[in-house]
Symmetry: C2
């Protein structure tokens, strides 16, 4: 029984991106961006048979997210939406979720494609991507389908230091 | 900047399932199971425009998960795999991830279909399901594609009280 919601980093994400501005906002906009996932040695046994999966979910702690904001203008639109209707980082629980391509595993280091995560981000979990559970290509996607911005990379709007000027 | 990985429940998941045994192991096996998501009043403003999405991701704290085990025999197979190559609950950070169908929203209460979560589970986050980010129907899925078990509902194997007999 684990009732106390305390997280333990199980690894570190390494990427070419040192700050939010210029970082792809989703793996789908980061086709050329490779990175690595360094799983701490205590957890290496948990990687058994992961190599058969073409894609994996990374769950990570958005350690450089700004304080929560419940409504915001997301990168893909120019009007305000509720944070739970967006993938923005300023969430009450800043857990990031990215579906990346698994390119290789060497002992405790995973090489992945479609990296959209900041360098040094603490890894919380890896889950296999299973189309039967995760792929619903026809699912209606609300404002995303008619979002007014074609933006594919982050700007400064969710960087911690700019928060005061936004609220 | 939020460097301390401490989670705050933002709501409660209500479902017909009181214990792991008999609970669907994924939403895709829970087509008939409806449930509700009660978002705490402090966070209701974050739901703006969520109603346009057909599916949503629920992230939740698996508060009745057993202590972590790095390798295990999952419900969908009869051989052992690494926990990160499975969706089993006995994870180092027990964060559950379910793609459920959003049937309606009334103020702070979401009605959802495909409920595979235990009643009373603490909600951590809601994210919109966006096919462009999340749907990869052709993605290779390793051992899942040839798993030897057709099991669609949980048994007792990950219930906390049976852990001693499994390890």
């Amino acid at each position: 029984m684990r009732s106390h919601a305390q997280l333990t980093p199980i690894g570190l994400i390494r990427s070419p991106f040192q700050e939010p501005a210029g970082t792809p906002i989703q793996p789908v906009y980061a086709a050329q961006a490779q990175g690595t996932v360094e799983v701490f040695s205590d957890y290496v046994d948990g990687l058994l048979d992961l190599n058969g999966f073409e894609r994996i979910w990374l769950l990570y702690w958005l350690d450089r997210a700004p304080v929560p904001c419940l409504q915001l203008v997301p990168f893909r639109d120019d009007v305000r939406h509720g944070v739970f209707a967006t993938r923005a980082p300023c969430r009450p629980n800043p857990i990031g979720l990215s579906c990346v391509r698994l390119l290789g595993i060497e002992h405790n280091v995973l090489t992945v494609g479609g990296m959209d995560v900041l360098d040094g981000t603490p890894l919380l979990d890896i889950k296999p991507y299973v189309p039967a559970f995760d792929a619903f290509p026809q699912s209606r996607a609300g404002w995303f389908e008619k979002g007014h911005s074609g933006r594919t990379h982050a700007d400064h709007r969710f960087a911690p230091e700019t928060r005061d000027s936004r609220d």
